[in-house]
C-alpha cells in the first residue's frame, strides 16, 4: 500500500518545481509547461486526499482539473500560434 503522505510530498515538490520554472524560465513554452505541471500536482494532491478519506469525490474533482488542463492547453497553444504570426515584439517561444 502506498503511503498517501508520500504522494503529498511529491505533489508539493512538483508544485514548487512548477512555480520555480514559472518564475525563472523565460521561454513561453516552458512557462506554459510549468503551469501545466502545477495543475498536474494539484490533481495528484486531490487523488491522494481522496484515498485518505476513502471517498471518490476527490477523483471527480481531479477529473474536472484534467478537463481544465486540456482547455488551458488548447488556449495556450492558440496563443502560441497567434504570437508566432504576430508582430516581432511577441514574447519568445
Amino acid at each position: 500500500m502506498v503511503p498517501v503522505t508520500h504522494a503529498f510530498y511529491l505533489a508539493s515538490l512538483l508544485l514548487l518545481a512548477g512555480l520555480v520554472g514559472l518564475m525563472l524560465r523565460r521561454p513561453l513554452l516552458t512557462t506554459l509547461l510549468c503551469l501545466e505541471l502545477m495543475l498536474v500536482a494539484a490533481h495528484l494532491a486531490l487523488v491522494a486526499s481522496s484515498r485518505i478519506w476513502a471517498s471518490v469525490d476527490g477523483h471527480a474533482l481531479a477529473l474536472v482539473g484534467v478537463a481544465l488542463m486540456a482547455a488551458q492547453g488548447a488556449v495556450a497553444a492558440g496563443l502560441l500560434l497567434v504570437w508566432r504570426r504576430g508582430p516581432s515584439d511577441a514574447p519568445p517561444l
Binding site: 500500500m1 509547461l33 498536474v40 481531479a62 484534467v66 492547453g73 500560434l81
Partner: protein, 176 residues
Amino acid sequence: MTATLVLFYVAALVALGSVGMLLRSREPRAAVRWMAATLAAVAAIELLLLAPWVAIAASVAGAMVLALFGFASQLSAGGDAEPPRPPESARRRRLEIVAGLVLLAGIAWILLGTWGRQLAFPGHDLAPGAAFGGLRQLAAAAEGERLALAFALPLLLFAGVLGALTLVDRGQGERG
C-alpha cells in the same frame, strides 16, 4: 518494502528527474518530451493510488496538450534558443537567493518538525469488496456533486478553441 512501494518510489524518482530536466532544457521540443515523461510517471502514481480513471483521463488530456505544444513549437522557425537575459543587479540576485533559501528552510522545518506524524499514513481502510475508484462510483459522485457542467464547460472550450484555430488556419491558407 512491498512491490507497490518500490514502484511508487521509482515513479516518483522518474517524475522528479524529468521535472529537473524540463527546467534545465533549453530546447522547446526537449521540454515537451520531459513533460511527457513527467505526466506518464504521475499517471503511474495515480494508478497506484487506486485512481485508474483519473490516470487515463490525465494521460489522454496530457497527450493532446503536449501534441498541440509540440506542433506549435515545431512551427516556430528559429525560436528554439533561449533569448539572452537582461543584466540584473547583483543586489537583486542576492535578495532572490536569500528569499528562496528562507522559503526552502521553512518547508524543511515543517517537514522535519512533523515527521513522526506524517511518515507513512496509508489512508483510511476501504470498505471490503468495494470497487474504489470504479466508473460507477465516479459517476455517482459527479452526479451527487452536480459536476456535469464543470466537466462539460472546459471540454467545450477545448473543442471550441481547436475549431477556431482550424477555421483561422484554413482562412489564412485560402487567402495566402
